[in-house]
Symmetry: C2
Subunit: 303 residues, 2 copies
Amino acid sequence: MPLLVVGSIALDSVHTPQAEHEDLLGGSAVYFSYAASFFTPVQLVGAVGEDWPAEHTELLRTRQIDTSGMQVVPGEATFRWRGRYEVDMNQRETLEVQLNVLDRFDPVLSESAQRCPFIFLANGAPRLQRRVLDQVRGSRLVVADTMDLWIRTTHDDLLELLKRIDGLVLNDSEAKLLTGEENLVRAGHQVRQMGPKFVVIKKGEHGAMFFSEYETYVLPAYPTEQVVDPTGAGDSFAGGMMGYLAEQERFDAESLKKAMAYGILAASFTVEDFSLNRLRQIDRNDLDLRLERYRQMLRFDGQ
Amino acid sequence: MPLLVVGSIALDSVHTPQAEHEDLLGGSAVYFSYAASFFTPVQLVGAVGEDWPAEHTELLRTRQIDTSGMQVVPGEATFRWRGRYEVDMNQRETLEVQLNVLDRFDPVLSESAQRCPFIFLANGAPRLQRRVLDQVRGSRLVVADTMDLWIRTTHDDLLELLKRIDGLVLNDSEAKLLTGEENLVRAGHQVRQMGPKFVVIKKGEHGAMFFSEYETYVLPAYPTEQVVDPTGAGDSFAGGMMGYLAEQERFDAESLKKAMAYGILAASFTVEDFSLNRLRQIDRNDLDLRLERYRQMLRFDGQ
């Protein structure tokens, strides 16, 4: 089933202890779309500037990603993010953000985007995420991401959004910030009580936790010795998760757990190189092989 | 099969954001022994001072813990540790250490202790851990713990020890310190190349990783919303792990993974109250019930 994502499309400049790269293809909607495209057709809605390299759009089109909802806005520049990772790759510093075209981005969904049954609202202002929701009709599953900026600056807007979505994905520090609760299990359930039927807390290199009314669980990250660039890991996680759910056309407890696993594995590939470089080298079969290894890793016999 | 542990016996004073407690029963060998005693008979070797409350020894004796190797040293006081946890329970500050009787502790093993097939050298000076090894005969599995202090101050002694043990348990920051490697997967294997056949890296609330020649895996911590006092979690982990292996009388890959799981669950109970208070409320059946929930948590269907 088709999957809609609305979010940022970016040119990222990334500094790691090993290397620096300028103007890499990035952005939450881009990582999400690429990861999801291993599973299902994706409609990507976002905006770029005149400086956007056409080859990036071509790359996305080689996947089953519909880029007709990507607006190229005349007179504007593409959103740019510059960040630096410490030797401990969990520590990231944002050096520069140029909102550019995103400053006035107000997504208008096409007829087919409006009717997408699976929807992911990538990290963005809650007010904007809600304006997307105002346009959709007959959605089956709506999941959103958010970040500390919105929790701090547009808290009430975010609370309004939470009442209208099925699932929320956020990271551990954001869950603590949103709830004022240090224990992640309690924080997860408290976020759930703000509206979403389920909540996923991303823990970076430590995996992800899932919370619904009847379930609480944690799955570890896939252990990789090749962490080159963590940028986009969270969005790839969400893409793998939502892509699998859309492919399955269901989101029962069992599907959600397997979707979590695929999300974790999509992220595990993303961090193995800059930008989409590692994801571009793999196919669905690589994800499935790693899923099987992951499943074995987590399996031990009963009593 | 009997399991020997040599390590500290302590009176802990613990400050958490919620409470303060003085002179709690603690110490690495105590937490280890209690957790292991759910699975197998334990021989505890350590030293205490004249101030040691006899009731603590009685408590251990109610379990299958042989305390005949606990020396009460006249004219000495028991080892004392005082620490404070931040609101984020992963952050701990040691406020005070009184070595007292441990300052001159030089364990002499009894005949039966010398012949224990399963041995755990709890955190202690590597030179002292090696002196224990010099006394044992016919051991089948020797596992040691260590800490940053020994990595920094007695590095060469520690390297000597590593060549003589089958397994090493240490935490994530210690593994990074010992190897100079930030990536835990690489760090784990580098430690293994220093001697031990397997290495376990404890990640606190994020679980534990296992490394052997043929295996690399990570298991998450059991998600608990009741984290009262993390003191002793790592030693309880080691106790659950070694206790299960000694019970099974084997340490093949499958047994080791299940042992890791039991270790994680023993630790998950320990943190739910101060000292041994939570462990004292449970029995083997509680561990097995939680193991089954943990197993379900980590299970998802194949492709």
